[in-house]
Symmetry: C2
Amino acid sequence: MIKVSIIGSGNVAQHLITAFLKSEAITLVQVFARNSQSVSHLVPENRITSDSSRLKAADVYIIAVSDDAIPEVSKQLNFTNKLVVHTSGSSGMDVLDPKNRKGVFYPLQTFSKDKAVNFTEIPLCLEAESEDDYAFLEIIATALSDKVFRINSAQRQSLHVAAVFSCNFVNYLYQIGDEICHENNIPFEILFPLIRETANKIKDLSPKVAQTGPAIRRDQKTIERHLTFLQDNPERIKLYQLLTESIQKNNV
Amino acid sequence: MIKVSIIGSGNVAQHLITAFLKSEAITLVQVFARNSQSVSHLVPENRITSDSSRLKAADVYIIAVSDDAIPEVSKQLNFTNKLVVHTSGSSGMDVLDPKNRKGVFYPLQTFSKDKAVNFTEIPLCLEAESEDDYAFLEIIATALSDKVFRINSAQRQSLHVAAVFSCNFVNYLYQIGDEICHENNIPFEILFPLIRETANKIKDLSPKVAQTGPAIRRDQKTIERHLTFLQDNPERIKLYQLLTESIQKNNV
């Protein structure tokens, strides 16, 4: 059985703990967390420690802490030449202390504390210094998920930017839709089927091919009507104009 | 049985024809289309005409033609005081000729010609001049869909703008994500679970509450790294900055 230790007690740590405890191929030997309270509902008492001198031997140590804390936490580990990975999308592998073998085990999903996730559908992005360590991480990853990708640090950085556009910024456009509906006494749920269809369509068509709406049709009359409608909200106008221009420029 | 006639042969017309032919509560008496060829695979020959003098009596006439053509088509009808509705999201009810009773029957969805849709899940937005006509449209709408909404012309205009933000612009942000992935040799499908979760989350949480990412966390270090990453693409930088500022301003 492969032995895994998790370092951290936050959102990602908790979801990983739950996933590893379910797995039959992996043993979660220990959780190391300063704040052991926050994982005590998940893991038996004797497998939690907040004392770095009491770390048990494991095949891989997964650091799931905030980006800023990764260098310090990896430095404090009182062993060397073990496989130590972090779970951050926006940090390079090189933030890890060089006294251990480095790797990355990055689950690409938004985790909310109280929302269970189906780990088998979460893309796991792996990186390691050596092929042996990569192969080992791959065994662990495939035990949790059907979607395992080899992604180096530079790619992971670009992936993080792509995710900001396709998810964080998308959610903000939903917020604008929600606000416009609300301001006009329309239930936001009226847009749910369209939002779902828009998100589903790109599995069959590339977004470039799937683009619809007044911008791509160059339907100037409708665009003008929309800008008049938005006239009291300069910020929405700026966004509407910039997105419309970008769509038109990039789809000639 | 309620008798419905459809005027038009485009995308929306075809999807409505298919839906009405399936309904047991409604009879599709006739399709009136200049281009009768494009619906001949859907409707029996004797129920299609391209001659406006041969229009059969119906309880409601649904005009599903391009926005620009609605006024003219509604004027050419050779009868008066019948219920005539259009299916446009961006046109007011007043574009219809006043010689007939006016209404709107607007299905809020993106239709693609070769993709079947489940009409029961499509929001139908209704409007009519009189309560009697509204009630009548409601009977027809509930025969097709579980989601029927009373939406007046001003609301419909705002709904159209909300849909542009939450769907057309969203799809363009998917395109940017796709391009960034492609440029860095990452398969775009790696983002699908995140895109799906982002679209699903807003059913349980308002978008404002669901917002995550560096902008809302005011994680200036990550934002700077992303802007550096984007430095060769001024357009993406402008979008990134404007969306980040808007998120921060609107979530104080």
